[in-house]
């Protein structure tokens, strides 16, 4: 299971990467893509949309079913990865790279405290496995 040490995580299997003091990139973890298997569809929010922490912000669909992706932090969508709409399999192939979902301008820095460290997230994946 690949859990990069430089990222933060959620219990619902999203990852967060800080790119500067205001903005983060969000995607789903290697564990999540392995559980979902063949990802065939991704629905993303529009740029400018205000997201609330822990509320659904995107949808991924495997062959079998649709799953909500939850926003790890509150804030405004500033960019989305259109490439995963064209090629959803990128989420399976490169969940921490080309398979990223959104870029968010964060609204509340305090919310970072509720995210999980890599070691805390590993515990979550082990309990679900």
């Amino acid at each position: 299971m690949n859990i990069p040490s430089e990222l933060l995580y959620t219990k619902t299997h999203e990852w967060v990467k800080k790119i500067d003091s205001k903005e983060v990139i969000v995607g789903i973890t290697d564990f999540a893509q392995q559980q979902l298997k063949d990802i065939v569809f991704v629905e993303l929010p529009s740029v400018g949309k205000e997201l609330k922490m822990s509320k659904p912000c995107a949808v991924v669909e495997s062959v079998k079913a649709a799953y909500d992706i939850y926003s790890p932090l509150s804030g405004k969508v500033v960019k989305v990865n259109h490439e995963i709409q064209e090629k959803p399999q990128l989420v399976n192939e490169d969940p921490y790279g080309d398979g990223w979902f959104l870029q968010i301008e964060i609204a509340n820095l305090n919310e970072f405290n509720s995210l999980l460290s890599p070691s805390q997230y590993r515990v979550v994946t082990e309990s679900e496995h």
């Binding site: 063949d38 629905e43 062959v63 079998k64 079913a65 709409q85």
Partner: protein, 364 residues
């Protein structure tokens, strides 16, 4: 939860197991998409022992079957199978089944897993006027495997040392393999060339392992329920409980051809005949998405702002690379090329009625 005799074999193959009605069954071993392509290109094996198997014995077995089913069993010869529906008095579909004729007084039915108990009750209730008639549930004692795909015939030959090509579609025969009786039937639920194998439950693991071991070079794979669903949907083979149930009549579906009014009386005939004369209000049709989005069971179908029906099956289709589905909609919109909208979450997405099947194998 019930387990089939192959339960441990599935775990050894790292299957992701899910509950399916009363059973724990493999959803997928690897990826649904690669399993799907394996069946279209080579062949795969499925454990379908969860399906119900019922045997009927008795001098009046044939007239009994004729009364129960919508299709015409009189046309069957020994060792021939028939796809048919069982309807209730209102014409609602109780189940879709295969009827296998062994002899005039001996038939076997293969029924949906979800309906085995219900069908047994129904058959026993209807059998009162056809005594003596023995109705036996073989589900636990006989296992059922499916071998499906263009190389399935070759694989059977390799494994069982038989020439299955002499079997025409919808025929079956028995053979002995190391002293074990196997019934091979040229039937399936994938839209591919293929066979279904009935074997005593205590030999199921041996047959399963032999098929996997001896056909590695031809690319055999075990296939789960996930790919079984995408394969059958592409071939427009209906799924009981989704595409039809007791609130649907055969004439509203795509399998109205299984109703043979000219065969004489059968349960549901009167209502169905009336419906045929009057015409149906709803119709099951195939559609493909124009906009990007995956239709799923239960989603609303709209024409503009009006709700005209619902999706009964939907999926990404690996063979056509489209998003496809079946929907039961107001009959006036069930026209080839008609544009509809599918409500997916909070938005509506354009789709178009298309002809089915969505996928047809190349004839070899």
């Amino acid at each position: 939860m019930k387990k089939t005799p192959l339960y441990d074999a599935h775990l050894k193959l790292n299957a992701k197991m899910v509950s399916f009605h009363d059973y724990v069954m493999p959803l997928q071993y690897d990826s649904i998409i690669s399993e799907h392509h394996c069946v279209r290109k080579n062949a795969g094996i499925f454990d379908i022992s969860h399906m119900g198997r019922i045997e009927l014995f008795g001098d009046k077995a044939l007239p009994f079957i004729q009364q129960i089913i919508t299709n015409d069993a009189v046309r069957l010869v020994d060792n021939q199978a028939l796809y048919t529906l069982i309807c209730n008095e209102q014409g609602g579909i109780i189940d879709d089944i295969l009827v296998y004729r062994r002899h005039e007084n001996q038939f076997m039915l293969v029924v949906n897993c979800s309906n085995t108990e219900k069908d047994l009750l129904w058959l026993r209730k209807q059998a009162i006027d056809y005594q003596p008639l023995e109705i036996r549930d073989l589900t636990d004692s006989v296992s059922l495997l499916a071998l499906q795909g263009p190389l399935s015939g070759k694989m059977l030959e390799t494994t069982l040392n038989c020439k299955p090509d002499y079997l025409k579609r919808f025929y079956f025969s028995d053979l002995l393999w190391n002293g074990i009786r196997i019934t091979i039937s040229r039937t399936g639920y994938t839209g591919e060339e293929g066979f279904e194998l009935f074997v005593d439950a205590k030999h199921a693991v041996k047959l399963w392992n032999q098929l996997l071991d001896k056909n590695k070079e031809d690319g055999i794979k075990p296939i789960g329920l996930g790919a079984r669903d995408t394969l059958r949907l592409e071939a427009c083979l209906l799924l009981y409980g989704n595409d039809m149930d007791e609130t649907t009549t055969p004439l509203e579906t795509t399998i109205d051809w299984t109703v043979k009014f000219d065969k004489g009386n059968f349960i549901g005939r009167e209502v169905l005949l009336r419906q045929k004369t009057k015409g149906v209000d709803r119709k099951l049709v195939g559609f493909e998405m124009i906009d990007r989005g995956i239709p799923r069971y239960g989603y609303a179908v709209l024409k503009g702002t009006e709700t005209i029906g619902r999706v009964t099956s939907g999926s990404f289709s690996p063979s056509t690379n489209k998003n496809i589905g079946l929907c039961l909609i107001k009959a006036q919109y069930a026209k080839m090329g008609e544009e509809l909208q599918i409500q997916i979450r909070d938005k509506s997405y354009n789709a178009r009625v298309v002809k089915t099947p969505f996928y047809k194998r190349e004839l070899r």
